[in-house]
Amino acid sequence: MIKFLTRTRHPGRIEPVDIISWIWLFFGTTMIAIPIAWALLSSFKSESEINSFPPTLMPQAASTVEIEGQSKPLSMWQWTTPEGETKEVAMVRRIGIKATMIDPAEPNKKFQVPINEIKQIKDVHFAWNNYSEPLEQFDFVTYIKNTTFVTLVATLLTLLLNSMSAFALSKYNFRGKNAIFVAILSTLMLPLSVIMVPAFIVVVGLNLADNLWGVILATVATPTGVFLLRQYMLTIPDDLIEAARVDAASEFRVYWKVVLPLCAPALAVLAIFSVIWRWNDFLWPLIVLSSPENYTLQIGLNSFQGQFSVQWHYILAMTVIALLPVTVVFILLQKYITQGVASSGVK
C-alpha cells in the first residue's frame, strides 16, 4: 500500500511536483466527499439531534437505562463530582438547576446533583424511521413510482427512436439527407431551457399538461443520441447489410436483427446517460407537472423542502434515496460512463 502510494514518475525520486499532485488529489477528494458524507450521516439523525449545535459526526441518541420501580427508561448522565470523580448515573427528574439522580447499581438511593456537574451520555443510533416515515406519511412512494416510470419509458423510447434515425442517416442515401442532418444538428443549439415557454404551450395543445407523457415525449428525441449511434453505425460494414438483403430480409429486419445487436456498446452508453438524465430532470417536469400525485421525485423533493424546511431529518433521508440509484449505476458502470464522456463528450 505504502509502496503504491509513494510511486513516482521517476522511481526512487520524489519531486516537489509529485507532492503537490498528491496534495491536490487528496484535497479534491475530501472536498467532494465531505458534503455528501455529511448529508448521508445526518440523514440518520433524529429530529432533536439534527437541530442541535454543535453537530456531532455520528448520528446519536440519548443513552437510556431501564430501572426497576421506574415507569419509563431513564436517561444516562455522566456526573463529575467536585472532587473530580466521574460516575455514570440515571436522571429521574430535573427541577431548575437541580436534578434528581439515582445510581443504576443501587436503584433505591436518590440524590440531588447540580446540573452543571452532569453531561448526557449518548450512543450511536441510526434513526431508520427518517426513511420509513416519509414513505408512509407523504407521497414519496408515488413520486418514486412516477420517476421510475418516466425514466424507464423515456429511455426505451430514446433508444428505439434515436437508433432508427441513426440507422436511416448512416445506411441510406436519400433526398434531403443532409438537410435533415443539419436540422437535427441545429436542435443541439436550442436546449429545452430556452424554448420552455412555447414547448409548454405545445404540451398544453396536445392536452398533455400535468401528464407524465408530456414529460416523457419532449425529452425522447435527443440529438446527442442520434449522433452517438450514427457515428457507431458508420463503423458497421455495409456488406453485412447487403448480405442480409440478399437473404430477402426486410429493411426493418435488417435494422432490428443485424444493426441493432451490433450497436450494443453504443446503445449501452446512451441507455446509461438517458437513465441518469431522466432520473435527475428538474426544470421540465417542474413546468409540465402541477398536481402532487404526478410529481417526480426531484419535484416532490423540492416542494417538500419548501413546505417543511425545518424537517431536515426527512428531507435528507429522501435526498439520499434520490441519490442512491445514480450512485449504484455509477459504481457498477463507472468505467463505461467515464470512457463514454471522454470519447464522445456527451452533453
Partner: protein
C-alpha cells in the same frame, strides 16, 4: 438483471414482429431507399413538436401581449416586449431599466458566467494535469472527480444547503476557528460565492475528462525530445502542452459558456428561488417566473427574453461546432 433485460428484449421482439408484415408491404410500395423516411419519422415528429414548432412559437409569442394562452386570442404588439426588456438609461445599472428584474438577471448571469468559466477551467486543467501524471490509481480518482457530475441538481442543492445551514458542519468549523456563525444563504456575498463554488464543485469532473482526453492525445515522444534537450518542466508545459491543448481548452470554454448562460436548477434549490432578494436571480429563472410562477402569466415577455437568450446560445453553439470540427482535424 440479465433476465430482466432478456424479458424486455423478448417483449419488444414480439411487439415488433407484428410490424414486420405491414412494413414489408410499405417497403415494396416505396422502395428500399425511401424506407429511410420511415425510420426517421418518429424522431423527426418529436423534434418538430418540441423543438422546431416551439422556436416558431417563441418568435410569434414574442410579438404578442396580454395574458391569454392561445395565440389567436393575443393582441399583436410589435416590438413592444423587446422595447420593454431593452429600454434602459444605463445598462450598467439595472435600477434604471424599465424591466429592472430582467437586467438584474443579466448582470447576475454575467458575473456568474465569468467566475464559473474561469474557475472551472483552471481547476479542471490542474486536475487533468495531475491525473495525467498518475501511473496508477488514475481510474479511481477520475471516478471520484466525475461522480458529482451525475448527481441531480436538487440533490446537490439540498446536500449543500444542509452543509451550509446555520447549524451545519461549515459553521462548526467557523466557530471552532473563532468566528461567528454565518447564515450564508441570507448574505449577498456568501450566497453568490457558494452558487459559483458549487457549480465548479459538481461540474469540474466533466471538463477534467475532456481536457484529460486532450492531454492523452499528445504524443509522448515530443516530451522525450524536450527532455533530451534539457528543457525545464515549466517550459515544457508552456511551450508544448499548452499550445497543443488550446483547441480542447477553447471547446471546453465554449461548452462552459453555453452551460453557464442556462444556470437554473441547483441555484434555484440552493437559494430558495434566487435569494437573498434578487442576488441570485438568473435569466432562465426570470423566464420561468415571468411565464409560470407569477400571478399574471406574461408569455409574450418571457418569449421575448427566450428569443434573446436563444440568439446568444445560437452564436455560442455555432462557435463550438466550428471549433469541434477544427479540433478533430
Amino acid at each position: 438483471m440479465n433476465i430482466l433485460l432478456e424479458y424486455i428484449c423478448d417483449f419488444f421482439d414480439r411487439f415488433l414482429r407484428l410490424l414486420e408484415r405491414p412494413l414489408l408491404a410499405l417497403q415494396k410500395v416505396i422502395g428500399i431507399h425511401r424506407m429511410a423516411y420511415f425510420f426517421l419519422a418518429p424522431n423527426m415528429i418529436l423534434f418538430a413538436l418540441f423543438v422546431f414548432l416551439p422556436v416558431g412559437l417563441a418568435i410569434a409569442y414574442a410579438f404578442t401581449g396580454g395574458t391569454e394562452m392561445l395565440i389567436w386570442n393575443r393582441p399583436f404588439v410589435g416590438l413592444e416586449n423587446f422595447r420593454r426588456l431593452l429600454s434602459c438609461s444605463s445598462y450598467m445599472d439595472p435600477a434604471t431599466c424599465e424591466y429592472d428584474i430582467f437586467w438584474t438577471a443579466i448582470h447576475n448571469t454575467g458575473w456568474y458566467t465569468a467566475l464559473n468559466v474561469i474557475g472551472t477551467l483552471l481547476i479542471s486543467l490542474a486536475t487533468a494535469l495531475v491525473l495525467n501524471r498518475l501511473t496508477r490509481g488514475k481510474a479511481f480518482f477520475r471516478a471520484v472527480f466525475f461522480y458529482p457530475v451525475l448527481l441531480s441538481p436538487v440533490v446537490i442543492g439540498l446536500v449543500w444547503k444542509w452543509f451550509l445551514a446555520r447549524n451545519g458542519l461549515l459553521n462548526l468549523f467557523v466557530e471552532n476557528f473563532g468566528g461567528e456563525r454565518i447564515i450564508f444563504m441570507l448574505d449577498v456575498f456568501w450566497s453568490r460565492f457558494w452558487v459559483v463554488y458549487i457549480s465548479i464543485w459538481f461540474q469540474m469532473g466533466f471538463y477534467t475528462l475532456i481536457i484529460l482526453a486532450g492531454l492523452q492525445a499528445i504524443p509522448n515522444d515530443i516530451y522525450e525530445a524536450a527532455q533530451v534537450d534539457g528543457t525545464s518542466r515549466w517550459r515544457q508545459f508552456r511551450k508544448l502542452t499548452l499550445p497543443l491543448l488550446i483547441p480542447n481548452l477553447l471547446v471546453v470554454t465554449v461548452l462552459l459558456l453555453i452551460r453557464s448562460v442556462q444556470v437554473f436548477d441547483e441555484a434555484w434549490v440552493l437559494t430558495d428561488g434566487g435569494g437573498p432578494g434578487t442576488a441570485n436571480t438568473f435569466i432562465v429563472q426570470f423566464i420561468y417566473q415571468t411565464a409560470f410562477n407569477s400571478e399574471v402569466r406574461l408569455y409574450g415577455l418571457a418569449s421575448a427574453a427566450s428569443v434573446l437568450m436563444g440568439l446568444v446560445l445560437l452564436v455560442l453553439t455555432l462557435v463550438q461546432v466550428w471549433m469541434s470540427k477544427k479540433a478533430e482535424h
